[in-house]
């Protein structure tokens, strides 16, 4: 089945021509109806005369005409390669859009056809006639017919929901009947009373339930001339579009992404609504006749409508300028009560380059909520029929046919109607970010903020001014320069400052390095990236420079601009990178996890030794947590800080496969927040001197701003147990336990460092000191246990056996402590352990 070529690009001049409002006489004066083909390339109109017209989209040419023998057509529905026409004589005829000729008569009724609805996958057509029953017929095989018979009077309108499984029949008795056709026999799901008006079969007013493209709700015209939204989950009334019309609503249509709604009334009005706020965007006052059928173009900013006078209008640029972007955003949620307002106005449109990253660390995307909502809705829906989301219109969620088999040619897949409209599922990809930078606020932002100093830039319209300030004023001199390149990323350390800028018309992306001191005259250098390659993050260490780019490359340079190596990152798109001496850590988006967002994967390697320590290992972030910052501690261990305020350090990372993320501090459990009065968050800066350095942000701020706030530091506290307890004794014990775990962690980190690198003497000295620290905490824990009572002796003995000291001194001290508390049995046993250790007998479980 060959598809007509879809012409989506067009010249704007076409539009200005078309924007002159000029009705096209399509048919003899009388009720006229229209329908776009799925891809929007053709628009079919039917009217009262015995002609059918097929208007090509975006062309002023005389349309092809199909002569038919019927007249007074009241319904048309077009798919990609065929369309159905229902006429007064009770026949539903199928015409080919490829050849513009009759294919077959799909079904016959005894009374006039009033409405035809095609399922979104074009496999089924629901036909409402003046007969009582509604027929649902397969468009491929006319022998497959369902009958919907639960309603007592004839149907005025029918409509399919986006999942092809539910039909809403608007009956002339003033009720909407919801049928499920996902089973062999259609089932009545719900009668909805009090929504639509009682209408005559041939009334101009419409009672059609229009399903919102997100599938969670439909809207129907009410007797009060409003458009009421009804949730699919519980069939309860939700929000309403009120006060737009002074006459009955004759037609209504959601825009393909559900962000806009167009309604037309019997008072010759046409109104555009914004779905999110249910506010009128525009009310058109140039309507001459009552509009009977409204159709949005699937992709373009075009609304077509036909009226009672046989005319067709193809209204280009129908959504006025400032709202036109609403047509471009992803699928919007239906307006439900209690839904969080998802912001469609600003976030979906990427800020122009050089004007910051609005969601610098967040998931970018306008419809964060509706992913979850729609997933939840599906899981909770009554019949479970829409458990499988038919996300590309390929029809794999369709109802099986009579033989229980899926219809064969669904594999070929008609091009999805409304391509970007419904259920386009996309994994959420973590945005790239530069650790230590903030977004623009006002006209300034920090490019880099760390313990060496800070780099900030001021937007001066045509250029930026960059200022680099140091904490240590004696060692370095602050400097300031005018920046025509509009640098948007920077790194700062003791040796130099690294900048990078996005590409522009004048120059490609550039990396610029400026050392702080040198013994030659000019040592700063620039490197141009290949055309089209953008830099997603940079990092600077004492010995190398790392840049990740949009081409998926990791580029590593020496401090003098010599390219050291370059490779394609395995997990892309890249998120960020960090480096410390020769260690380079890159983080990228990996496979998609259960919550629809990508798992972040990290790789750590040593550039100089050319060893990879961890390859594409998972960055441990639970569902819903986001990476806020990544950096190396002053001892060279990778640390991350997540959006929930937990600081984690990587343990055993120099051995492949052994790495694990250990929490060092949960800032939510800090003592200063215990009162519950303070509302503050912490912006991570560094981990140094066994402390977490951060900037305290008050009042819901997300980023530090000017004047530069003071750095604060917090001691680590591994969240072993609930933070505070009234029982001082218990708290003391908990503190000691926490201290034990923390000291053991410090010891293991230091031991790793010494064993795997050419450690300095001082670093080697540190290991036994830390070992003794662990033992000291154990000794305190032992004393605590002894104080508690005789019955805690077993635990006390276990604590004693955990002592790391091999000289026996610590165990001796432990024995003394036990004696002091007169735990003689315990003291004896400790002595026994000490003796066994001294002679080298090791317990079986102590290996």
């Amino acid at each position: 089945m060959s598809q007509p070529h879809v012409q989506r690009t067009f010249l704007t001049s076409d539009y200005t021509m078309a924007s002159r409002l000029r009705g096209r006489p399509a048919h003899a004066p009388g009720p006229t109806y229209c329908s776009y083909s799925n891809n929007g390339s053709k628009l079919v109109t039917v009217g009262s005369n015995s002609l059918l017209r097929v208007f090509p989209h975006n062309s002023d040419d005389e349309p092809p005409v199909i002569d038919v023998w019927t007249d007074n057509h009241f319904a048309v529905a077009a798919a990609n390669d065929f369309f159905l026409v229902g006429s007064e004589d009770g026949s539903v005829t199928k015409y080919s859009l490829l050849t513009n000729s009759l294919e077959e008569i799909l079904i016959r009724c005894t009374l006039p056809i009033r409405d035809i609805a095609l399922s979104p996958d074009s496999q089924w057509a629901a036909v409402a006639s003046d007969e009582i029953e509604v027929k649902v017929v397969s468009t491929k095989d006319m022998t497959q017919v369902f009958y919907l018979r639960e309603h007592p009077r004839s149907a005025k309108n029918v409509s399919f929901d986006v999942n092809n499984s539910t039909v809403a029949v608007s009956c002339t008795d003033g009720l909407i009947y919801i049928y499920s056709i996902s089973s062999e026999q259609p089932q009545l799901l719900k009668r909805i009373d009090g929504l639509i008006k009682i209408l005559e079969n041939d009334a101009d007013a419409s009672a059609r339930a229009i399903w919102h493209p997100d599938g969670r709700a439909f809207a129907a015209p009410t007797a009060t001339r409003d458009l009421q939204v009804v949730a699919r989950a519980d069939w309860k009334l939700q929000k309403a579009f009120k006060g737009g019309h002074r006459g009955d609503i004759t037609a209504a249509a959601w825009s393909p992404n559900g962000a806009l709604l167009a309604t037309a009334g019997a008072d010759k009005s046409l109104v555009l609504w914004e779905t999110r706020s249910q506010k009128i965007i525009k009310s058109f006052d140039d309507i001459q006749d009552v509009i009977l059928c409204l159709q949005w173009h699937p992709t373009d900013n075009v609304l077509s409508y036909t009226n009672t006078n046989g005319e067709l209008f193809m209204r280009a640029e129908v959504v006025p300028g400032e709202h036109a972007k609403l047509l471009k955003v992803a699928l919007q949620p239906a307006p439900m009560n209690g839904d969080p307002l998802s912001d469609v106005s600003g976030n979906a449109i990427r800020a122009p380059p050089g004007h910051g990253k609005p969601g610098v660390n967040g998931w970018d995307g306008p419809s964060e909520n509706d992913y979850v909502d729609s997933l939840l809705d599906d899981a909770m829906s009554q019949d479970g029929a829409d458990f499988i989301e038919d996300d590309d219109g390929a029809g794999y969620a369709e109802a099986p046919n009579r033989n229980g088999k899926r219809i064969a040619n669904s594999i070929e897949g008609p091009i999805a109607k409304r391509p970007a409209a419904y259920s386009v599922w996309q994994p959420r990809v973590h945005e790239a970010f530069q650790p230590g930078s903030t977004p623009w606020k006002g006209n300034r932002r920090y490019l880099c903020l760390n313990l060496t100093g800070f780099v900030w830039t001021v937007d001066q319209e045509t250029h930026n001014t960059v200022t680099v300030e140091f904490y240590d004023r004696q060692e370095h001199r602050d400097f300031h320069f005018t920046d025509p390149y509009l640098y948007d990323k920077a790194c700062l350390n003791e040796k130099g400052t690294l900048f990078s800028c996005p590409p522009s018309a004048q120059h490609p992306a550039v990396i610029y390095y400026r050392p702080h001191e040198s013994w030659t005259s000019r040592t700063d250098w620039r490197i141009n990236m290949p055309a089209g390659e953008k830099i997603t993050s940079i990092s600077l260490s004492d010995s190398c420079i790392v840049a990740t780019t949009t081409a998926g490359y990791v580029r590593i340079y020496s401090l003098y601009g010599l390219p050291l190596k370059m490779y394609r990152q395995k997990s892309t798109p890249a998120v960020t990178c960090a480096s410390w001496r020769d260690y380079v850590m890159t983080i990228g988006n990996g496979p998609v996890g259960g919550d629809g967002s990508t798992r972040l994967l990290y790789t750590i390697e040593n550039v100089k030794r050319d060893e990879t320590y961890q390859s594409e290992d998972i960055l441990a972030l639970p569902d819903g947590f986001e990476l806020k910052s990544v950096f190396f501690s002053d001892k060279g261990d990778p640390c991350i800080y997540d959006s929930e305020g937990v600081l984690l350090i990587l343990q055993h990372w120099r051995t492949p496969g052994q790495a694990k993320w250990v929490p060092l501090l949960d800032t939510r459990t800090l003592d200063r927040l215990a009162s519950g009065k303070k509302e503050e968050s912490y912006w991570p800066v560094a981990v140094a001197n066994n402390k977490f350095h951060c900037i305290i942000l008050k009042g819901g701020e997300a980023y530090p701003y000017f004047p530069r706030p003071l750095l604060s530091d917090f001691d680590f506290r591994i969240p072993i147990s609930a933070p505070e307890d009234d029982d001082a004794e218990l708290t003391h014990g908990n503190q000691l336990e926490e201290q034990f775990v923390r000291k053991a962690l410090e010891h293991s980190l230091q031991l790793d460092l010494v064993e795997n690198t050419n450690a300095t003497h001082a670093q080697k000295q540190e290991v036994p000191v830390l070992e003794r620290e662990v033992d000291k905490v154990l000794l305190q824990l032992l004393a605590n246990e002894c104080r508690e009572g005789e019955e805690r002796g077993m635990k006390a003995l276990e604590i004693a056996t955990l002592m790391r000291d091999r000289t026996g001194k610590m165990l001796e001290a432990a024995g003394k402590v036990a004696q002091r508390f007169q735990r003689d049995v315990l003291a004896e046993k400790i002595l026994e352990v000490a003796e066994r250790r001294l002679v080298g007998i090791v317990d079986d479980d102590d290996v």
Partner: protein, 254 residues
């Protein structure tokens, strides 16, 4: 005996003593640890905040080599909280409590921490954390007036609102001095005033007055006192109990 000074410490002596207090300094340049008589100082390493004795901090501040981070209580929030406590009718009788003593150290093991030469062990009223950033926000330390005055004079630019802090400090001083004076009304030979929470400078201020007054009262009561002593001496000679002599003597001295 020609020393013209009154007994006790003069204000400048108290001020000198308070310069022993540690304050938190944000260094702007590196400095190795110094071996001083009072113990070694920590090395300065920008931008890490470091506790330094006040005198050294002020010296570095004057040379623009450091910024001083004022303690939490020396802020508009902290001081107004304390001021509210002092002026509240329910607590009008007492001074706001002084800073909490550090929790007693756990079981000592070995002797390395204790009496070692590289540890400055503070003894009350000098608390290790009374004027650093780790200080309590809602309690005044012993040297509050002196530390506040010195910091406001020499490091006003490190405060968020130096004028507000200065005003609150003056208010606090007036409230507390009036409380002290009110307390003296009840002073008698056997009576006392509870001085919990009173700062060093305040004691130095009232010491001359109170000492003189109590001394004067003692002189007035001398004859009665002497007769009592004689009686007691007689009692003692008679072999009856009379051990209260020493206690009485103690009571009389402030």
């Amino acid at each position: 005996m020609a020393l013209p000074l009154p007994p006790g410490l003069t204000a400048s002596e108290v001020g000198f003593l308070c310069e022993m207090e540690l304050v938190t300094v944000i260094p702007r340049q590196r400095l190795e640890g110094l071996e001083l008589l009072g113990g070694p100082t920590q090395p300065l390493n920008p931008p890490f905040p470091t506790p330094l004795p006040l005198w050294l901090a002020l010296l570095l501040k004057k040379q623009k080599r450091a910024n001083i981070n004022p303690p939490a209580w020396l802020s508009v929030d902290g001081l107004s909280h304390i001021h509210d406590f002092e002026t509240d009718t329910r607590t009008a009788e007492v001074f706001s409590p002084s800073q909490a003593l550090p929790p007693p150290a756990g079981v000592r093991h070995g002797y390395e921490d204790y009496l070692s030469s590289d540890v400055i062990d503070f003894a009350p009223p000098f608390l290790a954390n009374s004027s650093t950033t780790g200080a309590q926000a809602d309690a005044l330390p012993y040297h509050w007036l002196e530390v506040g005055h010195l910091l406001l004079t020499h490091a006003a630019d490190d405060f968020d609102d130096p004028e507000g802090v200065r005003r609150l400090l003056r208010d606090l001083r007036e409230v507390r001095m009036s409380k002290l004076r009110k307390g003296f009304k009840v002073l008698d030979a056997g009576a006392g005033v509870k001085l919990n929470g009173v700062g060093g400078m305040e004691i130095a201020e009232v010491r001359g007055f109170v000492g003189g007054m109590v001394d004067g009262l003692r002189k007035i009561n001398r004859s009665r006192e002497e007769s009592r002593r004689e009686r007691e001496a007689e009692d003692r000679e008679n072999g009856l109990g009379g051990s209260s002599y020493q206690d009485d003597e103690d009571d009389m001295q402030l």
